[in-house]
């Protein structure tokens, strides 16, 4: 069984959500993760809050947040166990982030420490 990272990408992370929307989104995310964990396929993961986010550029230039120049931001990721990339894709399809048009979930296999990658 391989491990895959499901990376949640928001088209516009700068959008401000209402507290009710945030709460509904939190619940959906927790239910989504809980469903994967109930299949014993959850490995780990975290949200990535935008507060205090910095971007470090070439020549040690530091800018605030990933917003502005870059339109797309990463909201968080989880790591899952899956038999195949197709199974990991099925998990990704349930991610509530995808309810937002333009948002996406990137599925990436995690390199094993076996010299194969």
């Amino acid at each position: 069984m391989d491990e895959y990272a499901l990376i949640m990408r928001h088209e516009d992370g700068g959008k401000i959500a209402s507290p009710e929307q945030m709460q509904a989104w939190m619940k959906q995310t927790m239910d989504w993760i809980g469903g994967i964990a109930a299949q014993n396929k959850f490995v780990g993961g975290t949200g990535l809050p935008f507060d205090n986010a910095k971007v470090v550029w070439h020549n040690s230039v530091v800018t605030n947040g990933p917003f502005g120049e870059i339109k797309e931001t990463i909201g968080g990721f989880i790591t899952v166990k899956a038999e195949s990339v197709e199974e990991a894709v099925e998990f990704a399809k349930g991610c509530p982030v995808l309810q937002g048009e333009g948002n996406s979930v990137e599925v990436r296999k995690i390199a094993k420490n076996d010299g194969g990658h």
Partner: protein, 408 residues
């Protein structure tokens, strides 16, 4: 109390104390000597008290006899003197009398240190529970066998192997150091949790015995709570969980010993005092930055003490299961999570999630599917209950499932 009641009572309360203190004196490798001396003490009590009557202070009499027997053993046993005395930690010099300290403090310390020794990571969990029951709870081999629904020989073999292992690993009887305490506490808590569950979920028909198992698990957990270095948030959370569960003891089974499902239980039989104790310790356990699976399970148990089916209740139970499963997967948690999902988000969503679990060797899985499909697709519901019936092992489970099938 007459003698017939007194001796078993004292045996239950004092055997384990004497054994723990003597184990500490002799070291883990001579656990049997400690057990034998404690047993002989009670044999003496039976013999003497039958003829001379019960002494004024029976416990003090027992302690005095235990001390004498131990001292005699040490002085008279030649092999012991030659081979073992040098190994005793505070080895007495010639002619110096060995001190057998049966004070409350030393009894508690010895029991706690034994608890850590028994729950050493090198000992299998099953053996840890058996040893804890024998050494720390003073259970007879018969009782342990009955609780585990096993044969006496099986238990004897298991205990024998566990003692061998303790000897081989030279497990010290001592408190783990401060840096180690969290790592060493982990298996101790797991064993206490399983000891409690063994009593709570055991198929054994002996209700008193099952309740005893739960009480013992709670007693040992309180020992940890009364000891400052181990009075930690996860210990409080575990104790809280035990309080919540045992509050439902009286309501869980009918006179025939059949399980009464949660939704059919008579709330007036729930023990309010234990519920409040559970709430108290759950609150205490949250004062720290630790979130163990015991915290989450205690939280789930707390919500179950509220009988009314509110949206808030099931939403909380669902979210707690979501977190519990992220910390530690178990099929039971996965099934309970899916049930909570049906209560919080509706049956259709829960059916979709349940079908993904594929716990096809677990009869509870098909019971859950049967429940979820009931009222939505009764043909499928019945099919699932029949699949559950084919997998169910105990008579009680089979009866409960058969009643479901007959209700269509």
């Amino acid at each position: 109390m007459n003698q017939q009641e007194l001796i078993p009572h004292l045996f239950r309360t004092e055997f384990r104390k004497i054994t723990a203190v003597l184990c500490k004196v002799f070291g883990i490798e001579h656990i049997e000597i400690a057990e034998d001396l404690a047993s002989e003490t009670f044999l003496s009590a039976i013999e003497t008290w039958t003829y001379k009557g019960i002494p004024e202070n029976p416990t003090a009499w027992i302690y005095a006899v235990a001390k004498n027997k131990t001292k005699n053993y040490i002085t008279r046993n030649k092999i012991f003197t030659e081979k073992i005395t040098p190994l005793i930690k505070h080895s007495p010099k010639e002619n110096e009398e060995i001190e057998i300290d049966l004070s409350d403090k030393n009894i508690t310390d010895s029991q706690l240190q034994m608890l850590f020794a028994i729950c050493h990571p090198t000992i299998s969990t099953e053996a840890q529970i058996g040893l804890a029951l024998r050494i720390l709870c003073g259970f007879g081999i018969d009782e342990i066998a009955s609780a585990f629904l096993s044969k006496k020989e099986t238990i004897n073999k298991r205990l024998f192997r566990a003692k061998e292992k303790l000897r081989l690993e030279k497990v010290p009887i001592e408190f783990p150091g401060e840096a180690e305490i969290n790592n060493r506490l982990e298996p101790v808590l797991r064993t206490l949790y399983l000891l409690f569950s063994e009593g709570y979920y055991s198929e054994s028909q002996d209700t008193i015995l099952r309740e005893d198992l739960c009480h013992e698990a709670m007693r040992l957990t309180s020992l940890l709570l009364e000891n400052e270095p181990t009075n930690l948030p996860n210990v409080k959370a575990l104790f809280s969980l035990m309080c919540f569960h045992s509050s439902r003891f009286a309501a869980r089974k009918n006179e025939q010993g059949e399980i009464i499902l949660y939704q059919d239980q008579d709330e007036s039989l729930w023990n309010e005092e234990l519920v409040n104790k559970g709430i108290y310790f759950l609150h205490k356990s949250s004062q720290g930055n630790q979130l163990s699976k015991y915290h989450i399970e205690a939280g789930i148990a707390y919500w179950h003490t509220i009988k009314a089916d509110t949206k808030e209740k099931w939403e909380n139970i669902l979210q707690l299961h979501n977190r519990l499963l992220q910390l530690e997967y178990s099929p039971v948690a996965a099934l309970n999570r899916t049930y909570a999902l049906s209560k919080a988000n509706g049956k259709h969503e829960a059916i979709k999630e349940a079908e993904k679990l594929q716990l096809i060797n677990n009869h509870f899985y098909f019971v859950l599917l049967g429940e979820l499909y009931t009222g939505i697709d009764n043909t499928k519901a019945k099919q699932n209950f029949k699949a559950a019936l084919a997998l169910a092992k105990t008579q009680t489970d089979k009866q409960t499932i058969q009643m479901k099938i007959d209700s269509f």
